[in-house]
């Protein structure tokens, strides 16, 4: 009997916990603690603990499938490659859209963006970071010169004050929530701002329940109060920032007085004062945020405003401070780093920078489109409204028909795709639209790396063979490139060789290799083999900014795209539960997780429910300008009156049937956190 532990990194959220996969006679049969991880020290949440359960699910895709007469039939790799090569060969570069995957490894995403740019000659590559933290990448790059979480997860335990806004980390990033609880045990004050009194909010010393979509008003109000009291860090502002006067003029306007801000946000002025006092009194304050900040039409401005609070109070560049953007999926940081973005080559080297493009052209030995491509929302909008411009799509490991807003529009768009390739580990709601489906190995079946939210590059280690004839994502891409006549550029023998090619072209990763990241990983930037990685960004200066200084900007509060009115009187917000991940493709196949949380729900404030005559558990219909969806009501005092909440994991109760497709104009991130709805009570059948 063979029995072994294989340490690997979790396939669920961006925290990047590690655990051991327990392997018996060549099959993954369980998980076990891996104490050695500096991120989670052997501890895991329920998703990590059960991350073995979906791996050998009976319905993994085992062979390529080709749609013939509306039905999928099994095919050989040769048939699939030939068909794809001939079809894709018919289109010009810009007629093709490519979507990478925040689930897949760095190596897989590097291979895919190289395939898109090199073989397809298309600039149109993006992935689901667009949906979550594109606002972070844009916003933090604008003001700090780098679009990532500035500090480290373990750092949070050392803060004296955690200012948490729009992050239910207890459920979405539980092992980061643990660090915040460690800080609390050490005496730190915890402030949580969220329209829902979440599991995270319940741990707060001060809970601020602002109206959905009023974050800038809240933050500007706080900053005005801080300046009025002379609590700003004058030395930091003077030495390390630019643009302060203009910013100050903006936040000092009367509309951001405590009284006015209190009206807009629905938060008592006293609580806003208390938050400011605690931040002022704390030696170190860490700001923590997630999708509650980014998924708005003002997502980028929200992100910048959180940054300004930290600049204003000098809480940057030291452990226990910083702007801690918590990334959603296991490798959404890495997929961005690898250049699965329409404007960036690996390492955020811009396609608009001729020198960068030339560098990649020389290294790859081919032409690279020197043009900013289109984002995911633009891709679907084009397929929907101007199908003559876009013809084909190559989709790796994403499920947009569940995850994108306004599903009706996505449905029209996917039906307009002339040739759709979907590469995944399971059949998904999206793969139904495909012409060819390709079976990929999952995290437990491949070597590779992924990068967590604190920029730590960690290893995935193969524990078992994939199902049937499934292949690693990068291998499929390399084979296909070879079929299309580019074998020489994709001649990797293993994942390590891809990593080395990437690292040689990507200064952020320049000093890393598989040996160096073996036990604890390394945090970028790590430019040389001697460099020990970077725990805290911007310690001395803001690299990548003019004069190395962070930039203040005047930012005004703007209302959400959809405001409530007589017809649609409630604001709907969306989010995750601890039991599931994203569109549920993996977590809902886990019996342990799905038994605890088998169905969707809609949270309604107790008073609203009373007025509407809705009882806990009643199935109700939520209607918006986009559509309608049914779910059982969960009546709770924990959600703000006038606000409702639905989780986004459930295909049988798709919240994105009703969400609105308005996006942040800069980042393209949709406003999934505010949508005006009304409630209908279905008539008894």
């Amino acid at each position: 009997m063979e029995f072994k532990y294989v340490p690997t990194t979790c396939p669920f959220c961006g925290t990047g916990c590690s655990f051991n996969l327990v392997v018996k006679d060549g099959k993954v049969v369980g998980t076990a603690p891996f104490h050695r991880s500096p991120v989670n020290e052997g501890k895991v949440c329920q998703k990590g603990a059960n991350a073995n359960e979906f791996v050998n699910a009976h319905d993994r895709i085992k062979t390529p499938l080709i749609k013939k007469d509306g039905k999928f039939v099994e095919a050989t790799w040769e048939e699939a490659y030939k068909l794809i090569a001939s079809k894709l060969g018919q289109y010009s570069g810009e007629q093709i859209a490519v979507i990478g995957s925040a689930r897949a490894s760095n190596e897989d995403n590097y291979a895919l963006q190289k395939f898109a740019r090199c073989v397809m000659q298309t600039p149109n590559i993006d992935h689901c970071a667009r949906l979550c933290h594109a606002s972070t990448v844009e916003g933090l790059t604008q003001i700090f010169g780098s679009g990532a979480m500035t500090n480290s997860i373990s750092d949070l335990a050392d803060t004296n004050c955690a200012f948490i806004i729009g992050s239910n980390n207890f459920e979405a990033h539980p092992l980061i929530g643990r660090r915040i609880m460690q800080a609390k045990a050490n005496g730190a004050k915890i402030i949580v701002c969220d329209p829902r009194r979440t599991a995270t909010a319940k741990q707060a010393d001060l809970y601020i329940q602002q109206n959905s979509g009023t974050d800038i008003a809240l933050l500007n109000g706080m900053m005005q109060y801080i300046i009025k009291n002379g609590w700003e860090n004058k030395e930091f502002i003077q030495n390390r920032t630019l643009g302060y006067e203009e910013f100050k003029a903006c936040v000092m306007q009367d509309k951001y007085s405590l009284e006015n801000v209190s009206k807009v946000t629905g938060v008592p002025a006293e609580d806003i004062k208390t938050a400011c006092e605690w931040i002022h009194e704390a030696d170190k304050t860490a700001a923590v945020y997630s999708l509650g900040v980014t998924q708005h039409i003002v997502g980028v401005d929200n992100v910048c405003s959180v940054g300004f609070l930290q600049m204003l109070t000098g809480n940057m560049g030291k452990p226990g401070t910083g702007v801690n953007a918590l990334r959603g999926q296991n490798n959404v940081q890495g997929a961005c780093d690898m250049g699965a973005l329409p404007d960036s080559l690996p390492g955020y080297q811009k396609v608009s920078d001729a020198a960068a493009v030339k560098k990649f052209e020389d290294a790859w030995g081919c032409k690279v489109p020197a043009k900013v491509g289109i984002t995911i929302p633009e891709m679907f909008e084009t397929f929907d409204k101007e199908p003559s411009k876009l013809k084909a799509m190559y989709l790796m490991g994403e499920n947009p028909i569940l995850s994108e807003p306004d599903i009706a529009a996505i449905d029209r768009a996917l039906k307009n795709v002339e040739f759709l390739v979907v590469q995944d580990i399971f059949l998904t709601e999206t793969s139904e639209y495909a012409d060819v489906i390709l079976p990929a190995t999952c995290y437990a079946e491949k070597d590779g790396t992924q990068t967590n939210t604190e920029r730590r590059v960690q290893k995935l280690r193969k524990a078992q063979e994939g199902p049937g004839i499934a292949k690693n994502d990068w291998q499929i891409i390399a084979d296909l490139a070879a079929e299309m006549g580019h074998a020489d550029k994709f001649a990797w023998k293993n994942a390590s060789e891809i990593f080395d090619e990437m690292a040689a072209l990507t200064p952020l990763y320049g000093g890393m290799d598989y040996d160096r990241i073996n036990s604890e990983g390394l945090q970028w930037p790590c430019p040389t083999k001697e460099h020990m990685g970077t725990k805290v960004l911007h310690a001395e200066k803001f690299n990548g900014m003019p004069d190395g200084k962070a930039k203040f900007l005047p930012i005004e509060h703007r209302s959400p795209a959809e405001v409530t009115d007589a017809e649609y009187p409630f604001a709907l917000t969306t989010g995750a539960t601890i039991w599931h991940s994203q569109s549920g493709t993996m977590s809902r196949r886990s019996e342990s997780l799905n038994n605890e949380c088998p169905r969707s729900w809609i949270e309604i404030n107790t008073e609203d429910a009373k007025e509407l005559n809705i009882k806990n558990g009643d199935v109700i219909t939520a209607c918006s300008r986009s559509g309608e969806v049914n779910a059982p009501a969960k009546v709770t005092p924990d959600i703000k009156k006038g606000v409702m909440f639905m989780p986004y994991h459930f295909s049988e109760s798709r919240v994105n049937l009703i969400t609105n497709p308005s996006c942040d104009p800069v980042s393209g991130t949709p406003e999934l956190k505010v949508c005006a709805i009304n409630i209908k009570i279905p008539k008894e059948a």
Partner: protein, 411 residues
């Protein structure tokens, strides 16, 4: 010929093992012999994983591979017995030798009395243990207290009341007392532990009491069962090991070491249990701490007492599904179903995603219940007072009579 109750110094006759194994490599040699002689089909023990701070379970079936497991890892905080239940069918259809610290040995008995492990098929090699250190904490301690880069350390040991490291360029030891006063050192449950020499195994092995010319070159072996005597005698006859009687002064020293550890444990218990408070204050403390629970189930998953197929915490009429934090009933079920059998292995605390001091609560309850009912878990096959040992029978009794107690504790 050694018999149950005897004590010897033992060492490997193999030059390589003698040099590389801990204390003369006797344990390595015994395990190798057990495999070679087909006394067992496999050995479940611990090896070094990605580095010295990573202990990894390993199942060895080829005697040639036994050297992989040589040496002790004080940053190894694993508990092996539940692996036998989960992945080796409770040793019901194969013979397994296993190395066991005190908490592991206790866990073996508690699982065995619940029919989850067949002890007849297990050869238990006990290892004296003065406590272990969480790997993350060990690295932090080495960096901050020793001023040494933890990656430069190539050996660590606990000896003469000190945690000692050897690293490129030197050796450094700091008294455990001092470390523990500053919140470093052994796990809190190890500090409370009073099972330092696991005499309920077949052979209890360690270095305490080896003095004279054999100091550091032999293992002190206490023969605790006939099965243990058989292994030792056969291994000696096959010239896999050599033995000699212990020096009387060594016996005395061994006794003193054990006693001093008990004193330390009593002190730690008084201190840690004292901090819990009494009555309402204790309840409030427990309520506050458990309010962080995210219901990851790691306390249950890793508990060597939990084995029920029909876990009460998963019944939605007792604990609502999907709720985070779960209702307090979740924790109450754990206390009432486990506390009398808690062996203080610390897993429920060490692996808690929210650092809830679960083991402290449970152990405090166990100590109180032991005083009340006289049941000591983990030392023999005696049945507990309250915990379910025959799940199906006892659940049936509960549903028909309203009580799940094996004994009427109130009579």
């Amino acid at each position: 010929m050694a018999a149950k109750g005897d004590m010897v110094y033992a060492w490997s006759t193999n030059e390589d093992m003698l040099a590389k194994g801990e204390c003369g490599g006797a344990v390595t040699a015994l395990l190798k012999y057990a495999l070679e002689s087909k006394m067992v089909d496999g050995v479940l023990t611990v090896k070094k994983g990605v580095d010295l701070y990573d202990a990894q379970p390993v199942f060895i079936t080829d005697p040639a591979d036994i050297a992989k497991a040589a040496g002790s890892l004080h940053c190894g905080t694993l508990l092996l017995p539940k692996l036998i239940k989960k992945y080796f069918n409770g040793a019901k259809d194969m013979k397994i030798a296993i190395t066991l610290k005190g908490c592991d040995a206790m866990a073996m008995y508690e699982l065995a009395k619940r029919n989850q492990i067949n002890l007849d098929n297990v050869l238990m090699i006990g290892l004296n243990c003065g406590g272990s250190v969480e790997p993350g904490m060990a690295r932090e301690m080495i960096e901050k207290k020793y001023g040494v880069n933890p990656d430069d350390v190539h050996k660590e040991e606990i000896d003469k009341g000190q945690f000692i490291i050897e690293y490129e360029g030197g050796e450094k030891g700091i008294a455990m007392d001092e470390l523990e006063e500053e919140g470093y050192g052994r796990r809190l449950n190890c500090q409370r532990c009073k099972l330092k020499i696991p005499r309920q195994t077949d052979l209890a092995c360690g270095n305490w009491g080896v003095i004279g010319p054999k100091a550091g070159k032999a293992t002190f072996v206490e023969v605790c069962s006939d099965k243990g005597a058989e292994l030792l005698n056969k291994a000696e006859k096959a010239q896999a090991i050599a033995t000699e009687p212990p020096i009387p002064k060594g016996l005395e020293i061994r006794g003193k070491i054990e006693k001093s550890m008990f004193r330390l444990a009593d002190k730690a218990r008084a201190h840690q249990f004292g901090a819990l408070g009494d009555g309402e204050a204790r309840l409030k403390f427990i309520l506050d701490e458990t309010s962080r629970c995210i219901k990851c189930y790691q306390c249950i998953e890793n508990c060597p007492i939990c084995y029920c197929e029909e876990c009460s915490t998963k019944k939605s009429h007792l604990v609502a599904h999907g709720q985070v934090p779960p209702p307090f009933m979740f924790h109450l079920i754990r206390y009432s179903h486990i506390a009398d059998s808690c062996i203080n292995c610390g897993q429920c605390q060490e692996l808690c995603a929210m650092d809830i001091p679960n083991s402290l609560f449970m152990h405090a309850l166990q100590v109180e219940m032991e005083k009340m009912f006289g049941f000591t878990p983990g030392i023999n096959m005696d049945l507990p007072v309250l915990a379910l040992v025959e799940e199906k029978t006892e659940r049936a009794r509960l549903s028909s009579t309203g009580t799940d107690q094996i004994f009427n504790i109130f009579k």
